[in-house]
């Protein structure tokens, strides 16, 4: 048992350097499950703990990560009209995807965990694992071309104002990942609105704009690919004329389902080879993630089912009204576009910010489905509603619980 003795020997002093000790403790308990035994209360405990819970969620989103990374590169070359087949230019697409995704991931983890460690040390308790999931979710819901300083600001805002100000993990009212996204959305609307941000690696998205390659493209990967005898990044790459970079939702807002299918096929939308936030495009992989969460009972199936019911019901009403082209889009078509499924699987199911009672979870899910579709279809400024719908219902989740609990109390008192 050499490793554990070594780890024990380098343990920093808790009093002298609390921050260092907090960091050490976080990594030590990561490597070894602690040797604590039960004291008072039950003598045995369930094998489940928060680390395992959080890592299950992270595992469930890994396929989205894999696909998202590649799709960043794919969309980049589609804009240029090169390597149009999905697996053509595989190495270039992957390289470009990694160049874009890795900095976002590293910044997300470093900034968020840095703040967590600092506050844990200050409060003198162990680092809670909540940010492992939040930090993994944030890159997936960001547009690929997001400047890193905006990302940093958004995470600082979300973690400090949204979480630590409320008392840390388990106490926050709003979903942290969505809070960082909403910060970007409201603080830097020009960066994230419109069709400009969904394709990465160009100065801007309009015909003739040239590719924006850095040292990693031209220096590192081009040297590597040349040595391997593969195609390299071409600095003369430009956006083809007439390419807009519009997402299916933007198209649907303009001209309904017809306009969408004139640009993207249904298969493309289901398998995710479309522009959009990094991890939200591939519907199949998201559904697989959702199934992992449901089968392991990590996330609430009631919230997911409630959201589906809300979406389907509201879409039926809108279909019946049918006054704009977007209103005629059916619920199956709604499922293929945008980030509904991702929000359903990973965002709304956050147990801390959702309703806590079973009945409340249904109401919570249905209302998210209802409000999200209303925002998506009716709001002219930004055709996606899940972020705002979930944050709104996060706010009202305690109220929903309140009514469920009051009815239980009333029932009990009426018996007496």
């Amino acid at each position: 048992m050499g490793l554990i003795d070594f780890l024990k020997s380098i343990e920093p002093d808790k009093k002298k350097s609390p921050l260092l000790h907090t960091a050490y403790d976080a990594f030590f308990t990561f490597a070894y499950a602690p040797d604590t035994v039960t004291k008072g209360g039950t003598h045995i405990k369930d094998g489940m703990d928060l680390k395992r819970l959080m890592v299950t969620v992270v595992i469930a989103m890994q396929l989205c990560y894999l696909f998202g990374t590649y799709n960043i590169g794919h969309q980049h070359f589609v804009a240029a009209g090169e390597y149009l087949g999905f697996i053509e230019g595989f190495h270039l697409k992957l390289a470009h995807g990694l160049i874009k995704l890795l900095p976002i991931y590293i910044v997300s983890m470093a900034v968020g965990l840095g703040i967590e460690f600092y506050f844990a040390a200050k409060k003198g308790h162990a680092v809670e694992e909540g940010y492992l999931v939040t930090g993994a979710l944030i890159p997936l819901i960001m547009p690929p071309d997001l400047p890193l300083w905006i990302l940093t600001l958004s995470i600082v805002f979300a973690v400090i104002i949204g979480k630590e100000a409320f008392g840390g993990t388990g106490m926050n009212i709003w979903n942290i990942a969505l809070l960082s996204r909403v910060f970007v959305f409201f603080a830097y609307p020009l960066t994230i609105a419109g069709d400009q941000c969904w394709i990465s690696g160009y100065e801007k998205i309009s015909g003739g704009a040239s590719a924006d390659y850095g040292w990693f493209h031209t220096g590192f990967f081009n040297t590597l690919f040349e040595w391997m005898g593969l195609n390299t990044f071409n600095t003369a790459t430009t956006v083809v004329d007439g390419f807009s970079g519009a997402t299916p939702l933007a198209l649907a807002y303009e001209g309904g389902w017809e306009k969408v299918t004139s640009v993207f096929s249904e298969g493309q939308m289901i398998w995710g080879a479309i522009p959009g936030s990094i991890g939200e495009t591939n519907k199949v992989f998201i559904v697989i993630g959702a199934l992992i969460l449901i089968l392991t009972r990590v996330a609430s199936w009631r919230i997911m089912a409630g959201m589906l019911v809300g979406l389907i019901g509201t879409t039926w009403i809108l279909n019946a009204l049918g006054s704009t082209p977007f209103m005629t889009v059916t619920w199956t078509q709604h499922l293929m576009m945008g980030s509904f499924l991702f929000a359903m699987a990973f965002m709304a199911t956050d147990p801390v910010t959702a309703s806590s009672t079973d009945k409340g979870k249904w109401v919570y899910g249905i209302l998210i489905g209802f409000i999200g579709i209303i925002i998506r279809v009716m709001n002219p400024a930004y055709p996606e509603g899940w972020m705002l719908a979930i944050l709104l219902l996060n706010t009202f989740a305690p109220t929903i619980d309140y009514f469920v609990i009051e009815s239980n109390i009333k029932k009990r008192f009426s018996r007496a």
Partner: protein, 538 residues
């Protein structure tokens, strides 16, 4: 609600009629809508009648979960769960929520005689007892089974008696000179103090209570809420007896009752005189046919329960049969306590013999033994324990009390569990659990229904902020939100605790919540803290 429906249908009718007068619409549509309205009106009236009937029924207090006084059939009536064939008579409750922790080391076979020589009665086993009770014996005194050992100076009429005859060898003191335990070295053949018993069919209630309090029978009764020995003047609204235990490795009541059937029935007869309500028996409907002593008991209400743990907890039975209302008190007893009461009235002697299940994977042979209340654990477990680094628990692994090897069996305990201490580090234990461990989580392999785990006392993770919701609710088959009860206790909101049903809960009911808690919260001790503040208020 019904009024609304009525108004709506009337409004609809006038609407249609006015449309008719304008001469539009077909006749068929008109009659169709009239017919629908007529049906709605009749339905609304029936609904109203049904509700009135229900209100009337609740006025008389005859409404409960199993009867439907409304006019319409309850949806539950159509999807009634199927009773096992042996579960005849009484009500049947099929519970779904809960979790059976399947552990290695279940006691087998019939009860054998255990050579236990030392016994102890501990004032600390009785909640609310003053720390220094009046001790009636001194070291060296010779006593018989049934002789008074001590009493609480606040309630001197309730006597606590010796389970065995022999010599007082030690009066151990605890903190601040409190009496920790009175240790008795037992005779080989137990001598009993003989008393004349009142005739339960003719005597007054006060006489019966007086007899029970002065002969050590009263402390056998547990009062809910708060789990205390009741005051002699209390009249319970009901008395509940659970005849089966679903806790991990719990003893089988059929083994316990063997040979004591008549005493059990006599005990039930006595208890029947003490309540204005009923004596309720909770009976096992999970599969094994219960002893005829339970199924054939007379003068009691029978209720069959099936489902995973905690289906056998008396608190669950109370909740489903006749929940504690307002300031009502409910008394609960275990099978062996009822037998002791019955034997006293049959023989005039205090027979505190107990069948105890010695359980746990660390025992050489898990088995049933016959001994007395408060038996020495060292004597019970002699030559039966494997290995070192063990924990001895008086009771089951969920609610039992940790004892040293020199400790004694708790006053109401009929089980000893020995399990391994889990003070080891596990490389990536949270990610890749190498040894099988019981869990309700879908992320940990379950190894099938028949697999028996060798659980240890490792916490499998550290205490964290509360995150996962719905977990507690999934293992408590009650119409209660334990998570919100805990929240009310932590914020010390008395009114809310009461409203959310804290008085219906006891540690054993929420023990599974503590077991499953991902954030490793001490649910049982929080609950007790809440019960204490509720008790102070009332």
């Amino acid at each position: 609600m019904n009024k609304l429906k009525l108004t709506l249908s009337l409004a609809l009718l006038t609407n249609i009629l006015s449309a008719q007068s304008q001469g539009s619409g077909s006749n068929l549509l008109f009659y169709g809508i009239v017919a629908v309205c007529a049906v709605l009106v009749v339905w609304a009236m029936l609904g109203l009648t049904g509700n009135l009937l229900k209100i009337e029924a609740s006025k008389y207090g005859i409404d409960n979960e199993t009867s439907n006084f409304g006019v319409f059939p309850d949806l539950r009536d159509f999807i009634k769960p199927k009773r096992p064939s042996f579960a005849t008579g009484g009500t049947y409750h099929s519970l779904k929520k809960g979790f059976d922790i399947s552990l290695e080391g279940k006691a087998e076979g019939d009860a054998t005689h255990a050579g236990v020589s030392r016994f102890a009665i501990r004032p600390g086993d009785f909640r609310g007892m003053s720390p220094i009770p009046k001790v009636e014996v001194e070291v060296g005194s010779e006593i018989k089974a049934g002789d008074v050992l001590f009493y609480d100076k606040k309630r001197p009429e309730i006597q606590y008696v010796s389970p065995v005859s022999g010599e007082i060898v030690e009066i151990r003191r605890g903190e601040k000179r409190s009496i920790a335990e009175i240790v008795i070295l037992a005779d080989k053949d137990i001598k009993y103090k003989k008393v004349s018993t009142p005739d339960i069919n003719s005597c007054e209630r006060t006489e019966l209570v007086g007899f029970m309090t002065s002969n050590g029978l009263w402390p056998l009764i547990n009062e809910r809420p708060f789990d205390v020995v009741p005051l002699p003047e209390t009249i319970p609204s009901n008395i509940f007896i659970s005849t089966f235990d679903t806790a991990p490795l719990a003893p089988d009541s059929n083994v316990i009752i063997a040979g004591n059937e008549a005493a059990f029935q006599q005990g039930l007869n006595v208890l029947g005189k003490l309540t204005t309500g009923h004596v309720h028996l909770g009976i096992d409907a999970r599969g094994n046919v219960p002893s005829p002593a339970f199924t054939g008991a007379s003068g009691v209400e029978k209720h069959w329960f099936s489902g995973p743990h905690p289906a056998g907890n008396v608190g669950i039975h109370i909740h489903h049969v006749s929940p504690i209302k307002g300031h009502n008190k409910v008394w609960t007893l275990g099978v062996q306590e009822v037998v002791t009461i019955g034997k006293m009235f049959n023989t005039g002697e205090y027979h505190a013999d107990r069948v105890v299940a010695l359980t746990g994977a660390e025992l050489v042979s898990p088995k049933y033994v016959r001994t007395f209340q408060g038996a020495s654990l060292a004597d019970l477990l002699k030559d039966n324990v494997n290995g070192e680094n063990l924990r001895v628990v008086s009771g089951d692994v969920l609610t039992g009390k940790q004892e040293s090897m020199e400790g004694f069996l708790g006053f109401r305990d009929d089980q000893v569990t020995v399990l391994k201490e889990g003070n080891y580090y596990e490389l990536f234990g949270w990610l890749l659990p190498l040894a099988p461990r019981p869990s309700v989580s879908g992320t940990i392999p379950s190894y099938g229904k028949d697999y028996k785990f060798e659980a240890d006392t490792n916490t499998h993770g550290e205490k964290r902020a509360f995150v996962v919701t719905g977990q507690y609710e999934s293992v408590l088959p009650m119409d209660i939100f334990p998570q919100h009860v805990m929240k009310a206790i932590i914020t010390n909101n008395i009114e809310r605790m009461e409203g959310l049903g804290l008085a219906e809960l006891s540690e054993e009911d929420v023990a599974l919540c503590e077991f499953v808690c991902t954030s490793k919260n001490p649910v049982q001790s929080i609950l007790r803290q809440g019960l204490e503040s509720l008790k102070e208020q009332s």
